[in-house]
């Protein structure tokens, strides 16, 4: 227990450089990862589907490209796992829900096309809390994923499978989606880097929607530099996603070459309490590390931060209730036969959705209903605006903010399973960022209780990824 999952791996950039130069082959890289999967996947259950044969064909094609004297791209031979809520043409995409049973999308998500064009090798589709609703991956219809650092503990969620895949060496990198912390929290619990970029930084086309105004795709990696590489590849405007940002993004690989001298690092003085002492201790160490690297620590207030959780649990379920209304058993996915069409709809949805998904559909439907809208959804939108404005004021005084990512290290299976609200509290520190549309990332920063990984969260304002990455890289360097 608590032993490191494996030795420090080479970076994705190093793998791509070696494959591009012919120093190694994509096939060799892939076989190492497939061997790791063969070894521990039965225990971890990071994947809903391992794409062994497709990955081998893909690796062979990349090697052929190199042999022919062409460049397969900046992620040549880099293995990647995709959260199973990203559409892959002809490959089942389940959202870890029974309702999508048997569905094979007729199209690829934009990120999938982008990754392929960059030379990445997709090794599989990873487990998640059903429709990304949860913080432990226990809400998967296909059984939970286990934390590679301690298999009696959860990997976090909802992107638990992707976090575990990178932590266990099943893939070099992974993609997840973050609606209220679903990349950052599992990254913290699994001891890897996880980034939720600015809303609109990465195309959502082909990401099965949970809460459309909050969902954002981002990477899991072993290093800040790899996260920068991944975002440089998958970031950018997509004409198929009207909410994607039209301007090109500056290179984050360039940004992390700079230090943090003179950077103003904010401490939120009115941050909601609740972080465990071991987590709090690592946060203090992070402030110290950045101060030592030349940054200035400043106190800021974000008064509405504390209302984030409440607003989120009205806005996200409201959007989810609309997004998930289409699953009716008629055109695709599960169908439970019944006496007539209306009974079929009911039986299909009753059997196809898990408890947490049903709870959120009901919450959201209620929050949007006539007579309740103003008191619930309407008020939550006002809180959302307040949070955004409070953050903007804080960012006039600080370039980045540091908070814990998760209030605790990885917890044991079943610890919060019976208490939805205790589970919701896992995302106290991550949710306000989604409501503001801002970027945030979790950086592994040592260990806490029982030697389990602790993540520190770096937050920044809209499109301030370059400065966020500088601070994250400085934290990472301070541990070296």
């Amino acid at each position: 227990m608590a032993a490191p999952a494996r030795a420090t791996p080479p970076t994705a950039a190093a793998v791509a450089a070696a494959v591009r130069s012919g120093a190694t082959t994509a096939a060799q890289v892939l076989e190492q990862h497939l061997a790791a999967i063969a070894g521990r996947e039965p225990e971890i259950h990071a994947f809903n589907l391992v794409l062994t044969e497709q990955a081998r064909e893909r690796a062979a094609a990349i090697d052929a490209t190199v042999a022919a004297g062409h460049d397969p791209g900046p992620l040549a031979g880099v293995t990647i796992a995709l959260k199973d809520n990203m559409c892959t043409r002809g490959v089942p995409t389940t959202c870890s829900s029974k309702i999508l049973d048997g569905w094979q999308p007729p199209y690829d998500a934009t990120v999938v096309n982008t990754l392929r064009d960059a030379g990445a090798v997709i090794v599989g589709k990873t487990n998640l809390d059903e429709f990304a609703m949860g913080s432990s991956t226990e809400n998967s219809a296909f059984g939970p994923t286990r934390n590679p650092h301690d298999t009696s503990r959860v990997p976090g969620g909802s992107s638990g499978g992707s976090a575990a895949s990178v932590a266990a060496g099943f893939s070099q990198v992974a993609l997840g989606s973050d609606t209220g912390g679903s990349i950052r929290q599992p990254a913290a619990l699994c001891g890897v880097v996880g980034v939720k970029p600015t809303y609109g930084y990465v195309s959502r086309y082909g990401l099965v929607a949970f809460a459309s105004s909050l969902d954002q795709i981002g990477p899991f990696t072993n290093s800040v530099a790899d996260a920068a590489l991944m975002l440089d590849v998958i970031g950018g405007h997509d004409p198929l996603d009207s909410t994607s940002i039209p301007q090109p993004h500056p290179s984050l690989r360039d940004a992390i070459q700079q230090g943090v001298e003179g950077l103003r690092v904010g401490r939120i003085t009115d941050l909601p309490a609740g972080a465990d002492p071991d987590v709090q201790e690592r946060l203090e160490a992070a402030f110290d590390a950045l101060r030592a690297a030349g940054a200035t620590i400043v106190d800021v207030e974000v008064p509405a931060f504390t209302f984030g959780l409440t607003a989120y649990y009205l806005i996200a379920p409201a959007e989810a209730s609309s997004n998930l209304a289409r699953y009716d058993g008629v055109r695709y996915g599960l169908r439970v036969e019944a006496a007539d069409t209306h009974a079929m709809y009911g039986a299909t949805r009753a059997a196809g959705f898990g408890e947490e998904v049903k709870r959120r559909i009901m919450l959201g439907t209620y929050a949007l209903s006539a007579g309740y809208y103003d008191a619930y959804y309407g008020k939550a939108l006002k809180v959302r605006r307040l949070i955004h404005d409070d953050f903007d004021r804080a960012y006039q005084r600080a370039d980045v903010l540091l908070t814990p990512t998760s209030p605790s290290v990885a917890f044991k299976f079943g610890d919060k399973g019976d208490n939805p609200f205790a589970m919701y509290l896992c995302d106290t520190y991550t949710i306000p960022t989604n409501l503001a549309g801002h970027p945030g990332m979790s950086v592994p920063f040592g260990t806490g209780a029982e030697g389990l990984p602790v993540g520190v969260q770096v937050l920044a304002g809209t499109l301030q990824e370059p400065v966020m990455f500088r601070a994250a890289a400085a934290l990472e360097r301070s541990l070296a």
Binding site: Y205, L207, P239
Partner: protein, 476 residues
């Protein structure tokens, strides 16, 4: 004469119309699938149309442009706007919500002037996507009730619509009909839609209530399934009488959505206010606000063609006819007013050209304006009689033009002198003394027989007006 001249008591009708119009775009409102009527079912589809998980909408610029044209033509303010989700479950709505505009529509606060001068306010003209088409098999009258199977065609799902909502300014069934006709003409003129009610590219819902003038409006019912201009009037008339009967028998009107049945000529309850859906509107998070630039708005206004009302006024002035006369309205509706005016520019008589075009140009023949101009001058100059001119016109139409004078000459048409005419009239009276007696006794119909004899004898060359004058003169 309107059926509503007979509205019982001193009841007043109050009508507002909601008209859905399919925009004539190349592709759908949010995807690249073709917007085409009549294709094989479920062929114009894609992940967005099917509402597949992960698919996202992208707003069609051409649809926005056409919707702005509608707004400009209806004198609306064109403004920054947003899209909402209207959540409801129906099998032909694959996402289980319709993307529409709610509290911030594209076009607001306009008006439409009817040919008779009545001004109808336009509350809004907003954009939204159409649903698919359901066909119910095995029930009665194609309705879902009692059907054994329902077929869904999603070719129509996602087709761009503009919903034009009038204010409750309409006070008669005739004005409601005129509103729909005029709106249709405007939509055709600006090229926004083919506006075919029979194909469903223009659909009318009528909000109908009755009250006594000076009192608040009554409870309204919304009438759906009104599929022709004629049914607009019939449905409103039926519904108003139904409501008046209810009130006068001591009952009350309940707010309902009602279905017009063309077959039995009645409206039937579709749903009551109590079981209306709660649409749970919220801002569509997959789209961003639409903010048309002033430059774009200006460009749309500048490119607007002359609208039917202005064209009628122009033609009325040039021809001396009333703007709402049948000749002026029908010629403008057929888009032949430019041709009539061109006849005037070619030196012809606009008044005569209007009559000729209205009567003989339904099939849009390609007659050069100069050729028709020549004809319009022959008749008033007395060179041709009206009957002869008609024959020459038919020849011009049949041959797509020609020299009117030459045609007249070839037909042997020439002006007759009155002495010859006098002889023909004498002969006619002698040939049919019965008719003459009846005519002298005041039977107008008998005159027709005598004129006919004169025409026959003169081989159609006689001027009918002169013959009539001579007969009256002889009667004394």
């Amino acid at each position: 004469m309107s059926a509503y001249d007979g509205l019982p008591g001193d009841w007043e009708l109050v009508v507002g119309l909601e008209v859905h119009v399919e925009l004539a775009t190349t592709t759908k409102l949010f995807s690249a699938s073709p917007n085409r009527f009549g294709d094989e079912p479920n062929t114009n589809i894609d992940p967005v149309t099917l509402g597949l998980p992960g698919a996202l909408p992208v707003l069609n610029e051409q649809a926005v442009e056409l919707a702005m044209r509608v707004g400009a033509a209806l004198n609306c303010t064109i403004q920054a706007c947003t899209f909402h989700r209207k959540n409801y479950f129906y099998p032909d709505m694959p996402k289980a919500y319709q993307v529409t505009q709610y509290d911030q529509p594209l076009n607001v606060d306009g008006h439409l002037d009817l040919p008779n001068g009545v001004r109808v306010g336009i509350e809004r003209a907003h954009m939204e996507e159409d649903a698919g088409k359901s066909t119910h098999i095995g029930g009665s009258g194609g309705r879902v009730h009692g059907a054994t199977a329902s077929l869904i065609d999603l070719n129509r799902a996602g087709v761009p619509l503009v919903e034009i909502v009038s204010r409750p300014d309409i006070r008669s069934a005739d004005d409601a009909r005129a509103y729909v006709s005029e709106l249709r003409s405007i939509l055709l003129a600006v090229g926004a839609s083919d506006a075919k009610m029979e194909e469903g590219s223009m659909r009318v819902d009528a909000n109908v209530s009755v009250h006594k003038p000076g009192t608040p409006f009554g409870t309204r019912c919304e009438i759906k399934n009104v599929n022709s201009v004629r049914s607009v009037g019939r449905a409103i008339e039926y519904e108003a009488r139904r409501q008046i009967d209810l009130i006068e028998s001591g009952d009350v009107v309940r707010q309902q959505t009602r279905h017009w049945d063309e077959g039995d000529g009645r409206t039937h309850t579709l749903r009551t206010k109590e079981d209306a859906d709660d649409y749970r509107y919220f801002l569509e998070p997959d789209l961003v606000p639409l903010v048309p630039s002033q430059e774009w708005i200006d460009r749309v206004h500048a490119a607007l063609p002359m609208l039917p009302a202005a064209r009628r006024a122009r033609l009325a002035e040039a021809s001396g006819q009333a703007a709402d006369s049948e000749a002026v309205t029908s010629v403008v509706e057929r888009g032949q007013d430019d041709f009539v005016l061109a006849v005037g520019q070619a030196g012809g008589s606009v008044a005569r050209a209007l009559v000729y075009v209205k009567e003989a140009f339904a099939e849009s023949p390609q007659v050069p304006a100069a050729d028709l101009a020549a004809l319009t001058l022959l008749e008033p100059a007395g060179t041709l009689t009206a009957t002869q001119a008609k024959a020459v016109l038919a020849e011009l139409v049949a041959n797509n033009g020609g020299d009117a004078a030459a045609i007249a000459a070839a037909k042997g048409f020439e002006a007759m002198d009155n002495s010859a005419l006098e002889g023909f009239v004498q002969d006619a009276i002698a040939a049919d003394p019965d008719a003459w007696q009846k005519f002298c006794g005041g039977d107008g119909k008998a005159m027709g027989a005598l004129v006919g004899l004169v025409m026959k004898a003169s081989k159609g060359k006689a001027d009918g007006k002169l013959v009539t004058a001579l007969l009256n003169q002889k009667k004394g």
